[in-house]
Amino acid sequence: MTVLRPSFFMSRTRDFLPLVLNLPAVILLLAFIAYPIGISFWMSLHRYNLRRPDQVYFHGLENYATILASSEFWNALWISLYFTFMAVLLVIVIAMAIALLLHESFRGRGVVRALLLIPWAIPGVVNGLMWVGLLGDYGAFNAMLEDTVAAVNYLFGINIVYTGMASPFVALNAAIGAHVWRSVPFACIIFLAAIQAIPTEQYRAARVDGATSWNRFRFITLPWLYHAVLVVAIFETMNGFRAFDLIYALTGGGPGDATHVIAWQTYKEAFARLDFGGANAYSYLITLITMTLAIIYIRLLYRRGLVQG
């Protein structure tokens, strides 16, 4: 029997062909992802203010040092942490509750599932503008809040002055609410997919053992959802830290500095101060913080053995 051996040329072609075929994708990734990431880091190490194009020079980590020494950064960081914590918590709780509901059989479930996706399809700026209308002076939500405050004043004989979006507390929490409203559908789809993957035998066995619905949720559903929770938590943490378009449209950073989230601060550095060195340093700090939080999530859930590797 004759064994056919590939010629040198054929063997080389076979080795390189996959590389050649992947080359366009690799070039695109390098050009549009790796290069901007690299150049932005390089810029973050420079004094690079467009208002002084003649004074661009390398100054190491000074942009980072300046940012870390500024009160604006720490204020923005705390606001972003609060924003992100509340957003992640609310998104997980609300999305899980809706997913559990949508897992049940009822008439019109398909329609409800389709409707659920609408907020997710709305762009961030449009979402912001929509909430401007709802929370503005003549908005429905504003009227509801105003009436609620009036009712509380009447019932308890107190005198809380309702100032709407001019109140820092209302403005920040309204921004969180608008962010959550848009983020819930995505999380809900992930939870729904995870719930549908839970073997029904486990519920049947639990019922036979006399487990209550709460215990079935706690000991069957929730453990099966930890992986989904991790995915949602990481996504929402990143989204929370990057929240900009909503703030831009809804509050403009105000009142005072109540909604000066870190992404808003980055925007101001880049486009109001034209300090591209500082703005890139801000971006890298956001990346670092988000990455740290993601690692913490993964570590916590892995350590507890809740997520299988």
Binding site: R52, A166, S167, G253, P255, G256, K268, A272, R273, L274
Partner: protein, 466 residues
């Protein structure tokens, strides 16, 4: 019918796919560096682009010069920064006085002194400019622009509402205004839709790149000087502590007397709020007076004209008055300038054409008329930078339909641009002072402490930029 399956013919061969991919790639590369269009490349923000195009069509007919006009949508400053940094071809563009110094410092604008020197007619028109406009278009002793439009802030009051509350003249000082506004609120005057007006005064203290003009307006009305000749801050210890007094008046107006709406910190588009008839007093761009007194836009004007049984277009429901000040002998307001500038990338072979376009838009046309400025005023009420136009019979007649020319003339004598607008650190100042003033208005810090912090930041910026 045969049972033999025919081989599927590929719709596109591998060779054809590779050829078309290569062609598309080459097209993309070519598209990245297109040849600049013929004619003068001119960019501006989106304000009535159809009317701009009409003006340009007229210019093209007059001169035979072609203009490639592009209205830049979205955030004009941010997009233009990207275009300038990217070296996009452009002969001339709109520039706001807010961005003017920044763009000159960045080297994106070209001075036009040489072109003015060679053009005695346009040079002579300089003498006709309001001083604050001329100052706003000059940087480092060099002239960079010709005016697009300009205007100043005015104090407005709703005359029927004031009369309903028992007043026939508006308050002149801030203290009088407090008393008057409290009485207006107590009189429970109503909007055209029948709602009781809770807060008679609404101002614009929303944070924005172009915002907070009302703060400057109130300061200048009281003739406060916020910066010295070297642009060092004089507040909080400026003459008679006027800056502090004004901020305290505002804070008291919101929290103590409840005459100023807290929504002043968040609401945008003041003219729509005014036009809805929900406001007794406020500060408005002068050119918006036409808008709020035009029944097509304004429920307040429409309601008044219906009450009178008139089918006129305008009603002088809102009238202008001197901006209330600390003492009655003080006068002043804030003005701003929007201009046309040549960019530093203006091509040499298009320079004269670009200058002709600038002259047509920002000065006189080929027939010696302030064509564009007059047309903008006629169609949209936009203010103009040329003093002589205040005596133009058409402009006088038109102003009298919705305002009072004498008051416009009087007010235009007291206009000031922001004192530090040409400081290289103005953008840094702008993003710092707005939240700090909002914190004062929210009662989170005292007026003195807030102003002290802003002054401290100014000094730091001066040191950083010197």
């Amino acid at each position: 019918m045969s049972g033999v399956r025919q081989p599927v013919k590929p719709r596109m061969t591998r060779r054809a796919f590779l050829q078309s991919s290569t062609a598309a790639g080459l097209g993309l590369v070519a598209g990245c560096n297109p040849a600049p269009p013929p004619g003068v490349i001119f960019k501006g923000w989106v304000y009535e682009p159809d009317l701009v195009r009409e003006n340009l069509d007229y210019f093209e007919r007059q001169t035979g010069i072609r203009v490639d006009y592009n209205a830049v949508s979205g955030n004009y400053h941010d997009k233009m920064v990207a275009l300038h940094v990217g070296g996009a071809p452009m002969e001339c563009c709109y520039v706001r006085d807010d961005d003017f110094a920044e763009w000159v410092e960045a080297g994106w604008l070209r001075p036009c002194d040489d072109l003015l020197a060679a053009d005695p007619d346009t040079s002579a028109a300089t003498a006709d400019l309001f001083p604050y406009n001329l100052s706003s278009m000059t940087y480092g002793g060099k002239r960079y622009g010709l005016p697009y439009y300009t205007d100043f802030n005015i104090w407005i009051y709703n005359e029927p509402m004031l009369e309903a509350a028992g007043f026939d003249t508006p308050a002149r000082t801030l203290d009088e205004l407090t008393e008057q506004a409290i009485k207006v609120r107590e009189a429970r005057v109503r909007t055209p839709t029948g709602d009781v007006i809770e807060y008679p005064i609404m101002l614009n203290f929303r944070q924005s790149v172009l915002g907070f003009l009302d703060w400057w307006t109130l300061n200048y009305a009281s003739e406060a000087t916020l910066f010295d000749e070297d642009l060092n801050p004089t507040f909080p210890d400026d003459e008679d502590r006027r800056a502090e007094t004004i901020l305290q008046w505002l804070t008291d107006g919101i929290h103590r007397h409840r005459i100023i709406s807290p929504s002043s910190l968040t609401a945008g588009q003041m003219r729509d709020h005014v036009a809805s008839g929900r406001q007794v007093y406020g500060i408005l761009n002068k050119y918006d007076l036409e808008y709020v007194n035009n029944r097509r836009n304004s429920a307040a004007a429409d309601d008044e004209l219906k009450r009178r049984g008139s089918d006129a277009l305008h009603a002088k429901v809102y009238r202008m008055a001197p901006v209330p000040s600390i003492s009655p002998d003080q006068h002043g307001t804030l003005g701003w300038t929007r201009m046309y500038c040549l960019t530093s990338r203006c091509r040499e072979d298009r320079m004269q054409d670009a200058w002709a376009l600038m002259k047509f838009l920002g000065a006189r046309d080929a027939e010696g008329e302030y064509y564009t400025a007059r047309r903008w005023f006629r169609l949209r009420g936009l203010g103009f930078a040329y003093r002589s136009l205040l005596d133009d019979p058409d402009i006088v007649a038109q102003t009298e339909q919705w305002g009072e020319i004498d008051k416009v003339r009087e007010q235009s004598r007291h206009v000031r641009p922001r004192e530090n607008i040409k400081a290289p650190w103005f953008p840094d100042f702008k993003i710092y002072y707005q939240p700090e003033i909002q914190k004062i208005l929210l009662g989170q810090q005292s007026a003195r402490d807030g102003l002290g912090k802003i002054a401290q930041r100014c000094r730091q910026l001066i040191a950083d930029w010197s």
